[in-house]
């Protein structure tokens, strides 16, 4: 075993790689191939063409939806970062015994499943829902607040709820590896608290911020159910457009092209994020 651990590793990895290729990589490549096909009445013509991509680039609707997906993703990244930063700091630096319990408690609601979580938010936010009924019962309003459910607000509350734990985990890992000696040194040298945060804590935790941010960004941009079920009219997203093109509209090639446009942009963001993490890691080594 000691002589050839690499070889054993290869044998172990092979079936896993085979499964990943067969059920993830191959499907995505076939999707890429489809994005160059065309719908010809009810059949699919397989002469390669860029027509679908030209259509997306020329369509104000699709461009707008793509921009909105990434705008939403950035917004939720910012919100989860602001909410999650103190939580991650607290769990890493102020909790000693109950660390894993707190982290588990944070993750547990994730396992209830998309549909159930969305249902719960509908119970809370609906016009006949708990918050509205309760406000009316308390006499704080006479009419239900219509904007609560089926609005971008509802969508973004639920998206924040769904993906906050991922941001906290990323930040928590960064805080765990943050050596307090840096902060003590900065304090000894007379740096005020605001400077210590801006010039020591923030740069040293930025890899976690970027990693958590990337995860949240990708998941919000790709979320299908939350906007659909909570967003009302604003629930039409680029991902739901893909869903429609594969369902009722039956234009698989165009749907494939939109999907791959999204994947390409996501991959670019990921590459940029990975580079940024590597650079901040180098910078912090050189502090």
């Amino acid at each position: 075993m000691r002589g050839l651990p690499g070889q054993i590793g290869t044998w172990l990895a092979m079936p896993v790689v085979a499964a990943l290729v067969a059920l993830c990589l191959a499907p995505l490549l076939i999707l890429l191939a489809y994005s160059f096909f065309q719908v010809d009445f009810v059949a699919i013509s397989r002469d390669p063409t860029f027509a679908n991509y030209v259509k997306i680039a020329g369509s104000e609707t699709y461009r707008g939806l793509i921009a909105r997906a990434f705008g939403s993703a950035l917004l939720v990244v910012a919100i989860t970062a602001v909410i999650g930063y103190p939580v991650a700091w607290f769990i890493a630096k102020r909790v000693t015994g109950a660390k894993s319990t707190l982290l588990t408690l944070l993750l547990v609601p994730l396992y209830s499943g998309d549909l159930v979580r969305i249902f719960a938010w509908r119970v809370l936010l609906g016009a006949e829902g708990a918050i509205n009924r309760t406000l009316m019962w308390l006499g704080l309003t006479t009419e239900p607040l219509a904007g609560l459910l089926f609005s971008p607000l509802a969508t973004h509350i639920a998206l924040t709820y769904n993906y906050l734990p991922f941001m906290v985990i990323g930040l928590w890992l960064a805080f765990e590896s943050l050596d307090d000696a840096w902060l003590e040194a900065a304090a000894d040298l007379g740096a005020p608290a605001a400077d210590r945060f801006r010039r020591v804590t923030l740069p040293l935790t930025s890899p976690g911020l970027i990693a958590g941010g990337l995860m949240v960004f990708v998941m919000v941009a790709g979320d299908y159910l939350t906007p659909q079920l909570l967003g009302g009219a604003s629930g039409i997203t680029i991902i739901s457009a893909v869903n429609d093109l594969f369902g009722t509209a039956f234009d698989w090639p165009l749907g494939s092209a939109i999907a791959w446009t999204m994947l390409a942009i996501l991959m670019l963001c990921f590459g940029a994020g990975a580079l940024a993490i590597r650079r901040t890691a180098l910078v912090s080594e050189g502090v």
Binding site: A19, P109, G113, A120
Partner: protein, 257 residues
């Protein structure tokens, strides 16, 4: 500063559990309307759900999917985790990237890709396609869980076994395997939970036999009744119980070392 942070953490955890607490509360409330004021205690909503034969059938289908998915992902996850830790494979970075792929690709995009794949391969949609599709998206989770147990194994135990002349296979079977057993169990339970609550991919890949998540999807989308609420609570509580069980199993493996 610290007190403010404590307050903030309580607030955030409150936010995470608010929806669950609310549906739990209203599932026991004797009123058609899910809102305050509460009207008294009842278990009639649970009775209605448990007596529903259609849901019972869906639950059975869910189990038929979740059992094989949990076994497959734990087996493949164990192989992947070993290839990442104790028997490091060459090109580990690339291997990690490949493992993360099903997690990072938007669920709906992966679902339509697999739909095309199965269509091109002439495979009809069935529970088998659901099992295959779910397994690949759950694989990153089971791998992560088993890795988290393997990195805590004291390598000196393995070295000692090798020094005492145990051949590779017997060292694996008698040292590594018992030490990673809890990780396998935790992975199995978590995979089971993730499989039973998966919806988007399941909806695209299932044929005539539909698991519970697909069966109740349209109810959850358009209906807002207390009995549906009771069903949601049952699903949440079942999942939470299993996750807590898995976590306690996983953490115990750290302490025995």
């Amino acid at each position: 500063m610290s007190r403010l942070a404590t307050f903030w953490v309580w607030l955030v955890f409150g936010f995470m559990y608010l929806p669950i607490a609310m549906i739990l509360l209203f599932s026991l409330n004797a009123s058609d309307v899910m809102a305050f004021p509460l009207r008294g205690f009842t278990t009639e909503w649970y009775g209605a759900i448990l007596a529903d034969g259609r849901l019972g059938g869906g639950f059975l289908t869910t189990l038929l999917v979740a059992f094989p998915v949990a076994i497959l992902t734990t087996l493949f996850g164990a192989a992947a985790a070993l290839a990442l830790t104790l028997y490091p494979v060459r090109g580990r970075g690339l291997f990690v990237a490949a493992l993360l792929m099903p997690f990072l690709v938007p669920r709906l995009i992966l679902a339509v890709s697999q739909l095309i794949l199965f269509k091109e391969a002439g495979i009809d949609r069935s529970l088998w396609t659901v099992i295959a599709g779910q397994s690949i998206i759950i694989l990153p989770f089971s791998t992560l869980i088993i890795v988290s147990v393997l990195i805590r194994i004291d390598r000196r135990l393995i070295e000692a076994a090798a020094d005492l002349g145990a051949p590779g296979w017997s060292c694996f079977r008698r040292v590594v395997l018992p030490l990673m057993g809890n990780g396998l169990l935790a992975s199995w339970v978590i995979a089971f939970v993730l499989s039973s609550s998966e919806y988007v991919l399941t909806a695209f890949l299932s044929g005539r036999e539909q698991p519970l998540s697909v069966l109740v999807a349209s109810d959850f989308r358009f209906d807002l009744s207390p009995s549906l609420n009771a069903l949601a609570v049952l699903i949440v509580l079942g999942n939470i119980a299993l996750v807590v069980l898995a976590e306690s199993i996983r953490c115990r493996s750290g302490r025995t070392n």
